[in-house]
C-alpha cells in the first residue's frame, strides 16, 4: 500500500531547494487522508513551526522524528485541535479541516494520545477509557457504568492489554499500563486517524513491545492511519511505513522507511549536533536572526540527500552559512 511511494523520487528534498514554493512531499495522492500545508506556529518570540508540509495516506504509519524542541509536539497539538496554527491549511480526505477543539477534531475522525496521556489519576481505568465519551442512559442521562465496565473490559481484552482491574484508579498503574490505557482509549474510539505523541516513552522493553504489536496489528488491518512521534530509530523501522524528520520547524526529510536507514537518520542528527556545537563556538560575533536561519535548513536537506562524504565537508567547518542558525525552536 503506502510503500508504493517507494518508487517515487523524493520531492521533499528537491522542493526545499526551491525555498518558499514547497509542495507536500512525497507528492500527495488521491488517497491522502490528511494533508497539511505551510503550517507555522510561534509562541511569543519562539518559533516552533516555520513551514510544515505533511501528508498521510490511508492505512499508513508515519513516524515523526526530531530533536527536543524541534516542533513535533506542537505539530501534533495543531493536528489534534488542541492548538491553532498561525498560518497554513489542513485537509482531511480533501475537505478543509480547521478544528477549534479536540472534540471537533474527534468528530472529523482524528484522535490523539498526548505525551502526558491526558489520564486523570483519581478516576478508574474504565472512567478514563470513556472520558469525554461516556455512555449514558436515556432519557435521564445518568452514566451507564455497567455498560462502560463491560465494554472497557472487552476493549482491553481485544487489544490484549493486561490490566488487573478496571475499577482501580489509574494512579495505581505502572507507566506502561497507563500508556496502554491512553492508547486503548484512542483506538477503541471511531477515529480513523490516530496521533501518538511518544507512545513508547517511559516504557520498559516488554511493555513497549506490547504497544508496537498493537500498532503493527492496526497497520495490517489498514483501517486507521497513524502519525507517531518516536525517538528510537529501531522503533521507527519496526513500526513505520514512512518517516518524517522535523528540524528547526520544517520537515527536513521525508522518506519511506524502506529507502532510508538508521545510518542516514543518525547522520542527520549528528550533523545537527555538529552545527549546534559550531554555533556555540562561533558564538556571539556571528550574525544571527531569522534571515540566517533560513539558510540552515537547506544545508540539513543537503546532508540528508547526500552521502557521508558530504557531511565530512560540513564537519571541517566549510559550511559557515549554516553556522548562525538559531537553536531548534
Amino acid at each position: 500500500m503506502s510503500t508504493s511511494s517507494a518508487s517515487e523520487p523524493d520531492p521533499a528534498v528537491a522542493d526545499k531547494t526551491i525555498s518558499d514554493e514547497q509542495v507536500v512531499g512525497p507528492s500527495s495522492a488521491p488517497d491522502d487522508v490528511l494533508r497539511v500545508e505551510h503550517i507555522a506556529k510561534s509562541f511569543g518570540p519562539t518559533t516552533a513551526l516555520r513551514d510544515v508540509n505533511l501528508h498521510l495516506r490511508k492505512g499508513e504509519v508515519l513516524g515523526l522524528l526530531g530533536d527536543n524542541g524541534a516542533g513535533k509536539s506542537t505539530l501534533i497539538k495543531i493536528l489534534s485541535g488542541f492548538q491553532k496554527q498561525d498560518t497554513g491549511e489542513m485537509w482531511i480526505k480533501g475537505e478543509p479541516y480547521a478544528p477549534k477543539s479536540v472534540d471537533e477534531a474527534r468528530s472529523h475522525g482524528i484522535d490523539t494520545v498526548f505525551q502526558d496521556l491526558a489520564l486523570v489519576d483519581q478516576l478508574t481505568v474504565f472512567q478514563n477509557l470513556f472520558l469525554q465519551r461516556e455512555r449514558v442512559h436515556k432519557p435521564i442521562p445518568f452514566l451507564a457504568n455497567a455498560l462502560m465496565r463491560r465494554d472497557a473490559r472487552r476493549a482491553l481484552d481485544e487489544i490484549g492489554i493486561d490490566i488487573p482491574s478496571i475499577d482501580v484508579p489509574v494512579a495505581r498503574l505502572s507507566g506502561g499500563q497507563r500508556q496502554a490505557i491512553a492508547v486503548a482509549r484512542t483506538i477503541s474510539g471511531d477515529a480513523d486517524i490516530i496521533l501518538l505523541d511518544e507512545p513508547l516513552a517511559a516504557m520498559g522493553a516488554k511493555e513497549g513491545a506490547m504497544i508496537l504489536d498493537l500498532i503493527q496489528r492496526l497497520r495490517e488491518e489498514g483501517n486507521v492511519s497513524i502519525i507517531m512521534i518516536l525517538h528510537n530509530y529501531v522503533h521507527v523501522f519496526a513500526a513505520c511505513d514512512r518517516v518524517s524528520l522535523i528540524q528547526d520547524g520544517v520537515i527536513a526529510l521525508d522518506k519511506p522507511t524502506a529507502e532510508t536507514s538508521v545510518e542516514e537518520l543518525t547522520e542527520i542528527v549528528v550533523e545537527e549536533y555538529r552545527r549546534a556545537r559550531l554555533e556555540a563556538q562561533v558564538g556571539v560575533g556571528s550574525p544571527a536572526g531569522n534571515g540566517a536561519s533560513a539558510d540552515a535548513v537547506p544545508s540539513a536537506d543537503a546532508v540528508s540527500s547526500a552521502d557521508a562524504s558530504h557531511s565530512a565537508d560540513a564537519s571541517s567547518g566549510s559550511d559557515p552559512g549554516s553556522a548562525p542558525g538559531p537553536p531548534a525552536g
Partner: protein
C-alpha cells in the same frame, strides 16, 4: 475490614461522628431528646446545604470564599425586590437567579480571566458584604412572606417549618451526590480537578466546567440564605456572622473527605461533616463547656480529621506520600 471501611472516602468521618455521638449520648442525659434534635437542626442543615455546593468547587481544586456573603446578600435582594412590588415567589426566583449570575461571574473570573479562585471570590465576598450593608443601611429587615405570629405555606416550605431545612438538606445532598457520582457533570468536575490539562486534552471544556460549578455553589449559598431568613423571619446585615458560616461550610467539606487539592469530593461526606460540627457544637453546649473552648475543640477536631484523611487518601491511591 476496618481498613476497607476507612478507605471509603466518608469512612473516617462516619467513625469520628459516631464516636462523638456516643460520647455525648452517654455523658449527658439531655442529648438524645427530640427537643435537642430540634435545636441541632439549625446547626447543621444550612451548613450541609452550603457545603454540598462548595464540594463541587473544591473538587475542582478551587475554593469559593464568597458563599457566606452570597448567603448574606440574597435575602436583602429578595427584600428589595419585594419592596419594589414583586410578589414573593418571583422575587425569590429572581434573587436565586442573581446569585447564579454572580456565581457564574466567579467562575468566569477564575476560568477565563485567570484570577486565582481564592482571590476572585475574596473580592466577591467584600463586594457582596459591601452591597448588602449599603442597600440595607445596616438595618435588620423582616423577611417578606413571613410573620412572627402564625405562619404561611411559603414560610413553612422555605425554612419556617420545623423539618423544612432538614428536608431541603437531605433532598439537595442526595440530588447533588447523584450529580457528582452518576452524571457527566460530576465526572468532568472530578477530571478537571484531578488533571485540568489532561481533561481539556481529552476534549472536556474545562472552563465551562469551572463556570457551572461556581454557579451551582453560589445558588446553594443564596438558597440557604433565603431558608435562614425565612426561618428566623428576619435578616440582619452582619458580615461577620455570615463569614463564620462560610468557614463552617468549608470545614464540613474538608472534614467530610473532599480534598482541597481537587480531584475527589463527596457531598454525603460534607453532610456528615456538617452533622459532626453540629453535634460537637451542640454537645459541648449541653455539657456546659465554657463557650471560649468551642473554637479550640473545633480546631483540634478539624486537624485530627484532616490527618486521618491524608492517611486514607494514601491507602486509596497506593501512592507513597499524601494525595
Amino acid at each position: 475490614m476496618l481498613k476497607r471501611f476507612l478507605t471509603l472516602r466518608e469512612g473516617s468521618i462516619v467513625v469520628v461522628t459516631l464516636i462523638t455521638l456516643i460520647y455525648f449520648a452517654s455523658s449527658t442525659p439531655h442529648f438524645f431528646t427530640s427537643a435537642n434534635f430540634k435545636t441541632l437542626l439549625p446547626y447543621f442543615a444550612p451548613i450541609a446545604i452550603m457545603a454540598a455546593g462548595e464540594v463541587f468547587v473544591m473538587t475542582l481544586g478551587e475554593i469559593d470564599l464568597s458563599i457566606g456573603a452570597m448567603y448574606l446578600f440574597t435575602p436583602f435582594l429578595y427584600y428589595k425586590l419585594d419592596q419594589a412590588g414583586l410578589p414573593i415567589v418571583p422575587a425569590l426566583i429572581i434573587s436565586l437567579l442573581v446569585a447564579m449570575a454572580l456565581g457564574a461571574f466567579n467562575g468566569f473570573a477564575v476560568a477565563y480571566i485567570g484570577i486565582a479562585s481564592f482571590v476572585a471570590t475574596l473580592g466577591m465576598l467584600f463586594v457582596l458584604d459591601g452591597v448588602t450593608l449599603v442597600i440595607s443601611h445596616s438595618e435588620q429587615v423582616t423577611t417578606p412572606g413571613t410573620s412572627v405570629v402564625g405562619s404561611t405555606t411559603f414560610s413553612q416550605i422555605f425554612g419556617g417549618g420545623t423539618y423544612s431545612e432538614l428536608i431541603w438538606a437531605i433532598v439537595i445532598v442526595i440530588a447533588l451526590q447523584v450529580l457528582l457520582s452518576f452524571t457527566r457533570w460530576g465526572i468532568y468536575t472530578v477530571a478537571s480537578g484531578g488533571n485540568r490539562l489532561g481533561a481539556s486534552e481529552a476534549g472536556i471544556n474545562t472552563k465551562l466546567v469551572v463556570v457551572r460549578n461556581f454557579t451551582l455553589c453560589a445558588v446553594t449559598a443564596g438558597f440557604v440564605g433565603m431558608l435562614e431568613a425565612v426561618r428566623s423571619s428576619s435578616a440582619s446585615p452582619d458580615p461577620s456572622g455570615s463569614n463564620a458560616i462560610l468557614f463552617e461550610a468549608v470545614s464540613a467539606v474538608i472534614i467530610g473527605g473532599t480534598l482541597m487539592t481537587g480531584g475527589a469530593g463527596t457531598v454525603v461526606g460534607a453532610l456528615i461533616g456538617a452533622l459532626f460540627l453540629g453535634i460537637l457544637n451542640d454537645g459541648l453546649v449541653i455539657k456546659g463547656v465554657n463557650a471560649n473552648y468551642l473554637d479550640l475543640y473545633l480546631g483540634i477536631a478539624i486537624l485530627i480529621a484532616m490527618t486521618v484523611n491524608v492517611y486514607v487518601q494514601r491507602v486509596r491511591t497506593g501512592s507513597g506520600r499524601g494525595g
